[in-house]
Symmetry: C2
Subunit: 711 residues, 2 copies
């Protein structure tokens, strides 16, 4: 049963429950299913099972007490969808005793083999020992991963590894190892314990960041700082393991979570991470009222008023009103509390909902200069009304400023002066119509925005719409006829870099920006077009700046790696970043100003940035860099996809992602240094990028060998 | 409106109609849509449109009368789903006059650019001139294809190119070219004209078999021979263009098709090819009865009795009973006749329906010897009851033969002879239980089949079930307990090649065959197991033979090519062949017999085959070879996936496909020669293959560098 039918968080969220060993899995699945849980995490073998000693000859030996019979009561798809296997907790592939190590290794292999045979979707693995102290465990997992095609391994990772006691089933021997962890592993700020992230990173780095290895975060009663928790947003977290012991009781005895835990769950729900309840019921809930009163837990919490409305057509009844037989299950109040938290999530905005299918999906940037865009692409961009409202405002203010300046400069006018007797179609207050050129007019949205601005400003405009795509021009022709603008707008089917304008422009309007500002060659195009800008003329935009930040994004790095070539690691991608984490705040990189008065003009750039991590945030992994831009259209009319200043409701651009060939470990309090070049040649422009800290790395995309933008 | 809601032919089939130029495309789409057609094939520009002369300066010139306005009345998805563009028929990129050639080339580029801008799904291109006489046309198409991402080009291909007159819009100049076509292009047998396939092949070969280039077959009143028509089954045919003039009239004046045309349409419907009606209505249908009486056309045709039953829930009303406003449309009787033909197709069998999603989908063969299969894979195989019925029958006959032989050899028995006082659990009529070993027992289906056969034969069996996958053995254990067979069946968790059997076997049963018979190393496994076969013992299977045939399959070749590496061209694939054509009947290749009494045993093989094409079938293209096997389980109990002898309702194996690196042209009456090696080394077995005719080609997969099966 899903926690709530809400389409705004994509897939409905599922909840699981850890159960003891059972010889009758179908019955177990059914009983917890009635209670509300969608899947069970069940041991693969009896707790007492041990693999046969290696001395037993292979010849004819029966396969040991792995022997169980439930496999025949349940079909493959049920196994795959409703059961996650749990590997025995006693397994210690890094035990000091060689015999114990051998037995653990054999048992781990046998259990993983059995789970894969059953076609399970995932298996939960015992927690690793202290960071760097489980090489054999990582080795066995790495070998197993090579043979898997779809079954995922969920490594249990305690958010905090206690330094004073054992975690989970790790016996005494391991404590010593944990206590003797390398000095590089810092304790998590504010909590007495080791950083679970470090243990996770050691294992997954040894497994070469294999995509079937994920983390099941074990949530304890104490939480690390919110800022260090945020690192997990970019990691392949598959589940939260939530012990019932972490719940507290509200006044009426119902299990509820402390505020920090509530926020943790909300954050992971939004990332699509499922929750698994572990341990038995340990809150005495008054039996008869159980189904009616769950939810309103701690004081900050009030039940969603329109609970019923959240249920979609055909949806399952929700926790608050159900009367099914499962409601008497002792774990029912915990499940209902999860429902309550899930349904309380704020509603997702329309724009974000539409973008959901693009989340963490790599797109190669457009090359509008080299290729003609399709009609549908224009159609999509034109739907971004917010962007054109900003352009209209920019043109309006520029026209107003011109009017003010002309009025001031002209002083009192002599109406008989022949200079004022122009034959402009609709003389503005300043006499001469303003010459405005839209360069890269597409299907005409900026022509429309400019005409609107002129009407508002009471200014007469003479517009030139310059567009190199002959197919797009057909649409502008139609617009001019429909709107009655044929007298005011001259249509030019030409490349702005080569066109010979018949008169100078007062205002040059363009929308040539990419996700990284200059990456679709706006600087080169506008440098070419400014030939026909009158002295003192205005370019809209006036300037733009790119921003960069180091980022953790396991998903994107894996997707790039899946291409199995260098080229894709040297290509920047347009991506709606979702499961990601910025290791530090963004910093500005390259700025371009228009018109460009430099002589000679040089659009090549080089800069290096250093990002410093707060030691309290712990170590993290770097997969590449996220890029954004801010653009000054005109004076204080800003157009931005830079998170701190992002223009509201504007969706024309997703961020850009520059990958690194190899993920890089950034120690707690460490620095990330990056160098970026914008290189220009006669027929192409490209970026090169390299890491300078915490370690120097290879320069990516040298000579634009993998990625470039054609001029 | 779909022609009929039938799930058994996969996607519902769609019908289109060619329409004249219209300035109001939405209205055109609507009017033909009411008539029943799902899409229109519409000219991209007015017939009078010509591109601007190249002398006109680019600077500011307006984009010529390509100028149309309907693009703004209809959104992108409507353009994409309901309109196929038609390129002007006057275009002749290979005209003798250089100016005309230049104008044609410019017009073709402009129209393709416009269509791509609109986001159309496909564009119909004018027919090519005689084969080999349109190099510039192919050149322009090839350049255009490089820039396309999803829009398909449908080249109009007349099935027969008339030698006495022009095809379609090709003017006089081209006739001369057609008449002077190279001698290699043979006329199609029985019809006075050139083979349209040759013209198609020339163009698509020059376009390097680009996947966005397909054929729209123009069906004339006369058809080539059925055997030459079959070549198109393996080609990327996207549509049939069916002129109304090809229809004849039945007694009541309704348009119907001759029998040969009916069969042609039926064959292409089954391949998922859509039909486009071209030309105006040219049959005088009695107006009032039009909707009620369509369909029952020529004498061979009787309307499907349960017409209404073929409509799925929520389905559109079908032609016979509709009363919508479109039924008075002059083309309505033609559309209804298409419906009639489509709905008359024979019902697809359950097995083929289940296999529909695997059609023409490349799968890398299993390596069950090297990898352990998953439970689900066993589960799927075990559903093939027909296969196990054949095995049961084979074991039954072998047991019966043993009983007969023993009875004959023993003569009258002395009941006091101590040799007969065995302690077998259930003495059979012949006294001693038969020792039967299942090698590669999996989850036990052959154990079950053998026990059944023994019960039928009244024979006592002592069974050994040998299986190397320890996870599968768990299932057999359960089966033995459930069936009460623990006393009769000994479970052996071991590799048959290394196991030391405690006694010799009378019968050795195995199912180790792959799609090509020996390709999953059945010979090597059984050679290893025959150590413990008693002298005179029986192997089930007794022998198997692989078969090969040259094949046309554009789809599979493209899918292999899409990997962009050599390795995938040197890998055989398991495929449910669908859109394919065998260039000649299959021929046997390698045979293996068990037990193998050769000394020494050598499972390496080499053979070369020559396939001769009937000159009347025309030329064809070779993409690789299709492989099958026939297996003698015991005497006349045959198990086969070889088309002429395929075991009924058996679905465990799809054919195998050996690709060629490059498609090869096979002239009419030509030969296809192929050499195949089965190579064996200590740890692997692999195939190598090469073409010897019509041209010698490189040996594929030398030293098993790309594909091998591990021992």
């Amino acid at each position: 049963m899903v926690l709530g039918k809400r389409s705004d968080y994509g897939d409905a969220k599922y909840a699981g429950v850890q159960v003891p060993f059972s010889d009758d899995i179908p019955k177990t699945v059914e009983s917890y299913g009635l209670c509300g849980f969608d899947f069970v995490v069940a041991p693969l073998v009896r707790d007492s099972w041990r693999p046969p000693a290696p001395a037993v000859p292979e010849n004819g030996s029966l396969p040991s007490p792995l022997n169980r019979s439930d496999c025949l009561y349940i079909n493959s798809s049920q196994w795959a969808n409703q059961v996650v296997g749990a590997v025995s907790e006693w397994i210690q592939p890094d035990a000091a005793d060689p015999a114990e190590r051998q037995r653990s290794t054999a048992a781990l292999k046998a259990q993983l083999g059995w789970a894969a045979h059953l076609g399970l979707q995932a298996v939960v693995l015992p927690p690793p020992h202290a960071p760097g102290r489980c090489p054999n465990y990582a080795g066995v997992l790495n070998q197993a991963l090579q043979g898997l095609t779809h079954m995922a391994l969920w490594l249990t990772v305690p958010l905090i590894i206690p330094t004073s006691g054992a975690t989970g089933g790790v016996p005494d021997g391991a404590d010593t190892a944990a206590a003797a962890a390398p000095a590089a592993v810092s304790p998590v700020a504010g909590v007495g314990g080791l950083d679970g992230w470090e243990a996770w990173h050691q294992v997954r780095a040894q497994c070469d960041h294999h995509n079937l290895l994920g983390a099941a975060l074990l949530v304890g009663p104490a939480l690390p700082s919110p800022s260090s928790l945020r690192r997990w947003a970019g990691e392949p977290v598959k589940a939260l393991l939530l012990p019932t012991a972490v719940f507290t009781a509200n006044k009426r005895g119902y299990p509820v979570l402390p505020k920090g835990h509530q926020e943790l769950l909300a954050a992971f729900f939004k990332l699509g991470v499922q929750v698994v309840i572990t341990g038995g019921a340990c809150h005495a809930v008054p039996a008869p009222a159980a189904a009616a009163a769950a939810g309103p837990g701690s004081k900050q919490v009030t039940p969603a008023p329109a609970a019923a409305a959240a249920v979609g057509p055909g949806g399952e009844p929700l926790g608050f009103t159900v009367t099914d037989p499962g409601e008497s299950h002792p774990l029912r109040p915990y499940w209902e509390y999860l429902c309550f938290l899930f349904r309380r999530l704020e509603v997702v905005g329309e724009q974000e909902r539409q973008e959901a299918s693009y989340r963490d999906y790599l797109q190669v940037p457009l090359q509008p200069l080299q290729d003609n865009l399709e009609s549908q692409t224009y159609e999509t961009f034109e739907k971004d009304t917010q962007k054109y409202t900003l352009y209209e405002e920019a043109v309006f203010r520029a026209l107003k400023d011109r009017q003010a300046a002309e009025a001031a400069a002209a002083g009192p006018r002599d109406p008989l002066d022949p200079a004022y007797a122009t034959d402009a179609p609709k003389p503005s207050t300043s006499g001469r119509p303003v010459v405005l050129m839209v360069v890269g007019a597409g299907r005409g949205p900026l022509v429309r925005a400019s005409m609107r601005a002129a009407a508002r400003a009471g200014a007469a405009l003479r517009v030139y719409a310059v567009e190199k795509n002959p197919n797009a021009v057909v649409h502008i022709q139609h617009m001019l006829r429909t709107e009655g603008w044929t007298e005011h707008v001259t249509l030019v089917s030409a490349d702005m870099r080569h066109w010979q304008a018949p008169e100078p422009a007062d205002i040059l309007v363009s929308e040539l920006l990419g996700s990284f500002g200059d990456n679709e060659l706006s600087p080169e195009c506008l440098d070419g077009a400014q030939r026909f800008l009158a002295p003192g003329g205005i370019s809209i935009p006036q300037s733009y700046t790119s921003f960069l930040a180091p980022v953790t994004t396991h998903k994107l790095h894996h997707d790039v790696k899946a291409y199995k070539d260098l080229e894709h690691f040297e290509t920047p991608y347009v991506v709606r970043l979702h499961r990601h984490y910025l290791l530090a705040p963004t910093q500005p990189l390259f700025t371009f100003v228009h018109p460009n008065t430099d002589a000679p003009i040089d659009n090549a750039r080089y800069d290096s940035l250093v990002f410093k991590r707060d030691p309290a945030d712990g170590a993290a992994v770097l997969h590449g860099f996220a890029g954004y831009f801010e653009c000054v259209l005109y004076k204080n009319v800003l157009l931005s996809i830079h998170p701190p200043t992002h223009s509201e409701n504007m969706f024309s651009w997703f961020p850009i992602f520059f990958p690194m060939r190899e993920p890089v470990y950034v120690p707690a309090g460490g620095e990330v240094g990056v160098q970026v070049w914008r290189c220009c040649a006669s027929h192409k422009v490209w970026y090169e990028w390299a890491l300078s800290a915490p370690v120097a790395g290879p320069i990516h995309n040298v000579n634009g060998r993998s990625y470039w933008v054609g001029l």
